[in-house]
Symmetry: C2
Subunit: 193 residues, 2 copies
C-alpha cells in the first residue's frame, strides 16, 4: 500500500497523528480535518472442480508471473464475497462456478489480507485463459504442480481440499499465516478443531 | 466512504476512468498515474459469555447511539481477524475474550462490509464501558433488548447463537444481508445448509 501524502478531499498535505478518540496514527488533513483510513483487504476466490479435476490458472501478471494459482482477487465494493469469488473465476478463467460453498478463511496479517475461498463445480467443465492468465488447466490431484504454486494460501487450501475429499466430508477451514513478508509463513490452523 | 477528489501521492485532481486491464472505473491520477482503489471493509467482533450471560455494549457514538450491540469495529492493518475482534472487545468493553472460535461471517454488499464474529468466554466475567460505550451489560437470553439493538447483523448473530446453544452445538453461520441501505435487510442464510 502506497503511503498517503495528500488529502483525497482537499489536496492539502496530511499529518500522521493519533486522533483524540483513537489509538493509532491516521492520515489526518490539518486543513479540512478529513481522516483517510487504511484497512485490510479481502481476497476472494474459487476452487472449482469438474469430474474430480481442479481448475488452476497460470498467472500472466506480477507478482508470481508464470506460477499457478486458484482464480482469486480483491473483493470489490457492493458485491458479496461469493459474488466476488465467482467474478474472479469468470475474469481469470472464463469459468462459471455452481453449487458454491465457503471452504477456507485465511488471515494473512503480515500483508493485511484476509482470504475467503469457495469450493464448487465448474459449469460444463468449460474454462479458458482470461486477460491476466497465461494458461488454465484441469488437473488431477497427482498432476498439481506443487513446486510451481504462486501462493502458500492456495497450496494450503488445495491440500485441505484433497484431505477432506478423501475423508468424504468438506469442512470449513480457518488458519492464520504468521511471519514476515518474504519469509515462509507459519500456518496456525484453528478450524476444524 | 467519501468520494476521492485528489491523488494521495501527488495532490493532482483525479479522473474516474476504467484502466486498460480493468472493468470498473477507478480514481486515476493523470499526473503520476497512481490508482487509488476503494475496497470493502472488514468488521470484526465478539460474542462473549459468562455463566450463560451475554456481554452487550450500549453505544455512546453515532451511528445508532444509545442502541445495543456486540463489541465490534473495523479491522486494522497487520492484525488477524481474531486479534481485531479481541482488540474491539478490549476497547469497547474493557473485556478479555478467551477460548475464541469463529461463529459468523456476514456479507453486507449494500454497504461494502464483511462481518466476522467470534464467540468465546468473557475472562473472569469482567467488563466495563470503554470510550465509545455508554454502558455494558451481562444479560440472560430473556433480558436481551431486541427492539433496542443497533444493527441487524448482531440481532441475527445472537438469535443463531441462542438457537445453537439450545441444540448443544455451535456452528459457523454464513449469511448475506441484501437490500438497499436504510431499508430492512433480507437475510439469505446459506450455512449451515
Amino acid at each position: 500500500m502506497a503511503k498517503i501524502n495528500f488529502c483525497t478531499q482537499c489536496a492539502h498535505r496530511v499529518d500522521f497523528l493519533i486522533p483524540a478518540d483513537d489509538s493509532r496514527p491516521r492520515a489526518i488533513c490539518p486543513n479540512c480535518k478529513h481522516i483517510q483510513y487504511s484497512n485490510p483487504k479481502l481476497v476472494v476466490g474459487c476452487l472449482l472442480t469438474h469430474q474430480g479435476k481442479i481448475l488452476l490458472c497460470q498467472r500472466d501478471i506480477e507478482p508470481r508471473i508464470n506460477y499457478w494459482t486458484l482464480p482469486a482477487g480483491y473483493m470489490e465494493n457492493r458485491e458479496s464475497t461469493l459474488e466476488g469469488a465467482l467474478r474472479e473465476a469468470k475474469e481469470e478463467a472464463c469459468a462459471v462456478g455452481e453449487n458454491m460453498r465457503l471452504f477456507a478463511i485465511y488471515d494473512l496479517p503480515r500483508i493485511s489480507h484476509v482470504y475467503m475461498l469457495y469450493v464448487g463445480d465448474l459449469a460444463q467443465g468449460e474454462a479458458k485463459a482470461g486477460d491476466e492468465t497465461k494458461a488454465i488447466a484441469l488437473l488431477e490431484e497427482s498432476e498439481i504442480p506443487w513446486s510451481e504454486m504462486a501462493f502458500s494460501v492456495m497450496t494450503e487450501a488445495l491440500q485441505r481440499y484433497f484431505e477432506d475429499r478423501k475423508n468424504g466430508e468438506l469442512n470449513i477451514h480457518r488458519a492464520t499465516f504468521e511471519g514476515q513478508p518474504g519469509e515462509e509463513a507459519t500456518i496456525i490452523r484453528d478450524w476444524p478443531q
